[in-house]
Symmetry: C2
Subunit: 471 residues, 2 copies
Amino acid sequence: MGRILRILVVAVAVAATAGATMRATDALPSESLAATASSLGQKALNDPAAFDFVESLTTEIGPRLAGTEAHRRAVAWAEARLKAAGFENVHSEPFSFPAWIRGAESADIVGSAPQHLAVTALGGSVATDANGIEAEIVLFRTYDDLLAAAPGSLSGKIAVVTQRMVRAQDGSGYGAANPIRRYGASEAARRGAVAYLLRSLGTGSHRLPHTGALNYADGAPRIPAAALAIPDADQLERLAALGPVRIRLLLTPTIQENAPSWNVVGEVEGTERPYEVVLIGGHLDSWDLGTGATDDGAGVAIAFGAARLISGLPPRPRRTIRVVLFGAEEMNFSGAAYAQAHEGETGKIVVAGEADFGARNVYSVQLPGAAADSDFGHTLARIIAPLGANVDRRPALGGGDDIRELQKAGVPAVSLRQDGLDYFDTHHTADDTLDKIDPKQLDQAVAVWSAFTYLAAASDVDFRSLALTAK
Amino acid sequence: MGRILRILVVAVAVAATAGATMRATDALPSESLAATASSLGQKALNDPAAFDFVESLTTEIGPRLAGTEAHRRAVAWAEARLKAAGFENVHSEPFSFPAWIRGAESADIVGSAPQHLAVTALGGSVATDANGIEAEIVLFRTYDDLLAAAPGSLSGKIAVVTQRMVRAQDGSGYGAANPIRRYGASEAARRGAVAYLLRSLGTGSHRLPHTGALNYADGAPRIPAAALAIPDADQLERLAALGPVRIRLLLTPTIQENAPSWNVVGEVEGTERPYEVVLIGGHLDSWDLGTGATDDGAGVAIAFGAARLISGLPPRPRRTIRVVLFGAEEMNFSGAAYAQAHEGETGKIVVAGEADFGARNVYSVQLPGAAADSDFGHTLARIIAPLGANVDRRPALGGGDDIRELQKAGVPAVSLRQDGLDYFDTHHTADDTLDKIDPKQLDQAVAVWSAFTYLAAASDVDFRSLALTAK
């Protein structure tokens, strides 16, 4: 680029930035909008709609692994629910993906003192032989210890990693531990292991192992992989300290190529700028072990509940609120499918966020870019303070797994942070059931989502421009 | 009985009482005994022996259902441990009983919206057909509702009772709910039911059902019976409110008649009156689902730890301390076997108590009869107050399931009440594992047991006479 041209580009960018800032300033939420957002929040605190939604979903459908008949039933159920609640443009957008279906799964210590171990296959794991695989274990107390093992050093062995996941309100312990589940099998296979076990990524202490997807690396043998319940990982640590331990592992999952799934959509159409979209959602699919109450029945219920409250307002917001109930989050396919299908529309999506972190209260909202320090951010902070939530000065890094591809395409992401201190006690286990949801906390999350969503849809806020003015 | 004779009997009884009271007064624990008991308690607080015992048992043996090879290994392990710790007269006393061995177990809601339910067979349950039994359910929210059902009203149905067990520190919620598990199957069968399900007798909310023994009544058909995990009982309540529910239940347990078991014994022989016995114990057998950590690895560890500390004293107590690790408590056979084998000796057993209520701290000691208000009781109260335990003014009603038959034969029972507020969260589930034990609380229980056991064995206290002087 020549010098003149470069100056010109910079000048245009500065002008665009200034213009954007002006638009943002023009788009201050009025006192009337703020008052409406506040009253929506208060109304949400006593609205049973979100809890009813997740109660019905987890009771009448139950587990709904993407690619199964149960998920298909959930899609029909969700469409009917959205229509009954008065949403517009209700439909399901199909896509296909390789579905992974759990089979039998067991692990036993063999030898003179046999014991049963509670395990569950990782999503995506290949199967063992029909009779299982039996081998001695090599136990690593940290993932780094496994990574430090020499090539070939695990030849013929079952590698076991027992590193503990850290409990943290913001879920940061899960992010830190995630590579152990995602990549551990391939790392173990590269060193010769014939199977891989990890301590469940979880913070409770129950005999209910935590499943979750893995990613096989190209070029590494694909070996069976499963998570041990946390007390069973403890048990293996103690036994391995006493002498050699042999385990028989049986996993018989299957893959169904080109399985159908759907992203379910319903809208609250905007009055003045219906082509501008505030996208909120959760994921309708769940793991198969529990009934997907906190992951992510709560999330779809929150998005539903917030949009439904707003749809009942006179007057409705000027922009469209689009609720998307994603259809294969756990296997990491629905967000990409959505972004691909809506490639031409991403510029019209004002902001996007997915509620996918349980059913507890929102304690903090992270806005795109510098929006925390804008009039929008200040107004939102004032509205949600009585609900017990803050606007975080740090920008949102992501808006949820299903939002990632939209974000890459330039869509601003919002993150409503829910209290996750006990989220990983039951996450991805058979224990993810309705009784783990406190309706009052769920309602608070709906309240904060209502306030944010309404403000974003009823104002002219331009998060793209606010991103540009980040300090 | 004639009048003169009756007067004579009363007079002798009064004299005996007076004599007994005198003996009790003579047998005041001396200040030196009290000081030794206090220092034993303090020592126990920092003695790792009890926790090491239960750690080794639950790790190296694991689950040890009476009648299984694992229990046989536990018996050998226990004998070796008692000998290594210096106990005298270590031996195992055999008996036989009908062992119940768990098979496959599953329950599924069938129909247009199938769901899996977490269940476990009750101990003693008969099997279903090899293909399971499928029927519509009739759900009762209380046991009384089942009892109120008319004969024949459950014909061909699976009866389900979802009554909740109450959480209470003293475990009274379990006692109140126990008939639901013990007798529910026969009550349902009398009304025509083909199978029986109950909400687990438990206070947690996990997908881990609580097993436990049932008793079939004579004259009622024997039908298969299983416990639902608590979230699954909730789910059935919600589904039953929406319409008919059909369940397929599969249970394939077997009975092994005349299975061998053993009560393992080790003693700290008394110096002056070795034929007088203070009997303390726990039960070595466990349910098969967990590793029997709190039920009753903790109890055998407490008895072991307390007696071992006392055995290290110079001078040892005048009476013998006998540690009994019972061998089929969960199936209700070992206490009777012990009492029968020791029929001729019961008069020499000064007091008996079994630690079988978890691994938490002792908050209260219930003594036989009126002993709380004796010099023995006052001295014990003074010793255990710094440990955070009281002497309860109410007498012990029972000393544990394995002590019941001894008590019927006239042996005074002692009850060291442990905090049971969360005991039934994991009781009889796969979750009964070592991580549920807090070593510091376990040590406190050992401390109180040490103090009590030492005082009883080193003094001349006669609980039989104190029972007579109850106010």
